[in-house]
């Protein structure tokens, strides 16, 4: 769809151009009429002067005296002409040189203004006055060459055209700027939405025009809802886990009771089934907790979290002299902290379990987040690698602490459309797990 700015801009520009063209024609017409009106006034003066000089002679003839009006009517082709008609007799001005001026007849006490083509094709403005004197119908036509006036008008027209264009273009410029300025808040909202998608922002808080306030409010509402839903479901699952796990602990304890010494098969059954329930709950709860690739993720600092995780693992594996080396960026990264800790915790736990003394963890941000966890343990044979994440899905095959962790990692990685690869570490010689998560987009 066309951008709002373009759409508004085009519409306004079209309207502006139309208005200016109409305006220009109107102004042109006004200028021309004003000039002609003035000219007609002069022609009328001359016409009336001629009318004044009409005299009546005894032989029932009407004659006029051109002596009193301007001498230009006597100069040849001067551009000023007259034609006096008394009844059917025509008396052209000497300046006409016998050019037949096709004047239009008018009735008594009427006048008419119109255009004619004069000698040598020059445009003429003609004023014809009608009168009845001494019983005769008299038409006096006075004409003037419009060429000179046309010339003046053309230059005025040009100047006015230039001025109009200047005003039009400045108006367009100002309007465009105004449109861009009015659309600023929308662009700001767009930028903030990008930040929300990128995780650097939790809600949109630009000061927006009232038309889009409902839109922004709705988006903010949805964003809040996502965070709250996640929080609620995580809390609920935590509560459920909490409620279920104490009974399972008691079941496990019951399986140890001395009463069962006589029934070892019963003890094994109780123990195994309890473990299976536990694994099942564990797996499904952990899966349900995965936040995945969603815009409300809060940022975390990988280096700081890794150092805390390292301390935790050193405490958990206190009996083992482990050297955990950490490389991680020391700034905020926008991936869900819980998910990332779950990936890192499981991979590290696995590495610590198998390592003889060294574990190497690397987090790097390039096109996405890349996590490498290597250990110096026995590693894993090539043919077993592909089965790793599947272990723990068949619950009865899952051994305590084996497989389940990597399965969860695989689930989380999948939720982020990332990749999980296993192999052999080239520096430590043991197992190497590589997780790459793309940056959101």
């Amino acid at each position: 769809m066309m951008s709002l700015q373009k759409r508004l801009g085009r519409g306004l520009m079209a309207v502006l151009c139309a208005i200016f063209v109409l305006h220009w024609f109107a102004a042109d017409w006004v200028i021309r009429s004003a000039a002609e009106k003035q000219m007609a006034n002069r022609l009328a003066d001359d016409g009336y002067s001629l009318l004044e000089t009409l005299t009546y002679s005894d032989d029932d003839r009407v004659s006029f005296d051109s002596f009193h009006i301007s001498s230009v009517y006597n100069r040849r082709l001067s551009g000023h002409y007259y034609l006096v008609k008394v009844d059917a007799h025509a008396y052209p001005s000497p300046s006409l040189l016998d050019f037949p001026l096709a004047v239009e007849p008018v009735g008594p006490d009427q006048s008419k203004r119109y255009h004619l083509t004069g000698p040598r094709g020059s445009p003429l403005l003609v004023l014809t006055l009608g009168a009845v004197r001494f019983g005769h119908r008299i038409n006096i036509s006075v004409a003037e060459d419009l060429s000179a006036v046309d010339h003046d008008i053309t230059s005025i027209r040009l100047a006015y055209f230039g001025l109009t264009m200047l005003i039009l273009f400045s108006a367009i410029g100002i309007l465009r700027r105004d449109i861009r300025r009015s659309l600023q808040p929308l662009l700001a909202v767009g930028r903030e939405l990008e930040q929300v998608a990128g995780g650097t922002r939790q809600k949109i808080d630009s000061d927006v025009p009232e038309e889009i306030v409902p839109l922004v409010a709705e988006i903010n509402h949805l964003l809040e809802l996502i965070v709250r839903r996640l929080q609620q479901s995580r809390t609920a699952l935590g509560n459920l886990a909490h409620a279920l796990k104490s009974p399972i602990t008691l079941l496990l304890r019951a399986s140890e009771a001395s009463l069962l010494d006589a029934h070892p098969e019963l003890r094994v059954q109780l123990n195994t089934q309890t473990e299976i329930i536990h694994r099942y709950i564990e797996r499904e709860l952990k899966r349900a907790r995965i936040a995945g690739d969603q815009p409300a993720a809060t940022a975390f600092n990988p280096r700081r979290e890794m150092i805390a995780l390292k301390k935790t693992l050193r405490a958990i594996y206190a009996g083992k002299p482990l050297d955990i080396q950490v490389t991680a960026p020391n700034h905020q990264v926008h991936f869900d902290r819980e998910d990332m800790m779950e990936i890192l915790g499981n991979l590290l736990d696995n590495a610590c379990k198998w390592a003889s003394k060294q574990v190497d963890v690397e987090l790097s941000l390039q096109d996405g987040l890349v996590i490498r966890v290597a250990d110096d343990g026995p590693g894993c044979e090539r043919e077993d690698l592909s089965h790793l994440t599947q272990r723990g899905q068949r619950l009865d095959e899952a051994m305590q602490g084996h497989g389940l962790g990597l399965g969860i990692v695989a689930d989380i990685v999948e939720g982020y459309h990332g990749q999980l690869a296993f192999g052999r570490s080239k520096t430590l010689g043991g197992f190497l797990a590589t997780v790459s998560l793309p940056l959101r987009r």
């Binding site: 935590g238 886990a241 909490h242 409620a243 279920l244 796990k245 104490s246 399972i248 602990t249 008691l250 079941l251 496990l252 304890r253 140890e256 309890t274 536990h278 564990e282 952990k286 907790r289 979290e305 150092i307 805390a308 995780l309 390292k310 301390k311 935790t312 050193r314 405490a315 958990i316 206190a318 009996g319 080396q325 950490v326 490389t327 991680a328 020391n330 902290r337 819980e338 800790m341 779950e342 890192l344 915790g345 499981n346 736990d349 190497d360 690397e362 790097s364 890349v370 490498r372 290597a374 570490s425 080239k426 520096t427 190497l432």
Partner: protein, 221 residues
Amino acid sequence: MRLLLIEDDAELSRSLQADLANAGYVVETATDGELGEFLGATEPYDAVILDVGLPKLSGLEVLRQWRQTDNRVPVIVITARDAWFEKVDGFKAGADDYVCKPFHPQELLARLQAILKRVNNLNQAKLKVLGVELDEDEQTAVVAGNTAHALTAIEFRLLRYFMLNAGKVLSKAQLSEHIYSESAEPDSNVLEVYVKRLRKIVGSELIQTRRGQGYLFGFKA
């Protein structure tokens, strides 16, 4: 050995108390956070077993309050919340060990024994050589009592290797082995760059160049 067990599930508390008593511990119990916090702060226990989900005051809050008042009693946190971030937050609050529900009673006993054994020599993650103090957890170096200097991963690895081998001449090949990680490609110049950076941090006289042999961490003889 005198233990404090803070657990709100009466059945679990009773059975754990029995197991612990069988193992030869004197066990006192509390069923909520406030009482547990008070007991732990006033009575001298050898260790505390603390549930996280407690009424009145959460287990982590109890732990935080003790650690704030410098109560160093060893604490094993037992919890049903076993996400890794929760474990990390538990250790951040000052837990010494973490046991996730459900657990076998023997597992808890084993953890308890381990923690009682190592309680005195834990938290010694600091290496101190020739006036340089390296915090292995935080990856920071303190030189002659100045403020802590944060090290990059490679600087940290190199410095630690130097400090662990103070006084020995270390070849470039030997050092390279200890600084490269999975993604890095070995490059002979990189090592020199990092040695140069370390000299800026710990002082140039501390790392000497032995022509044709390598580097030596230690004072000039």
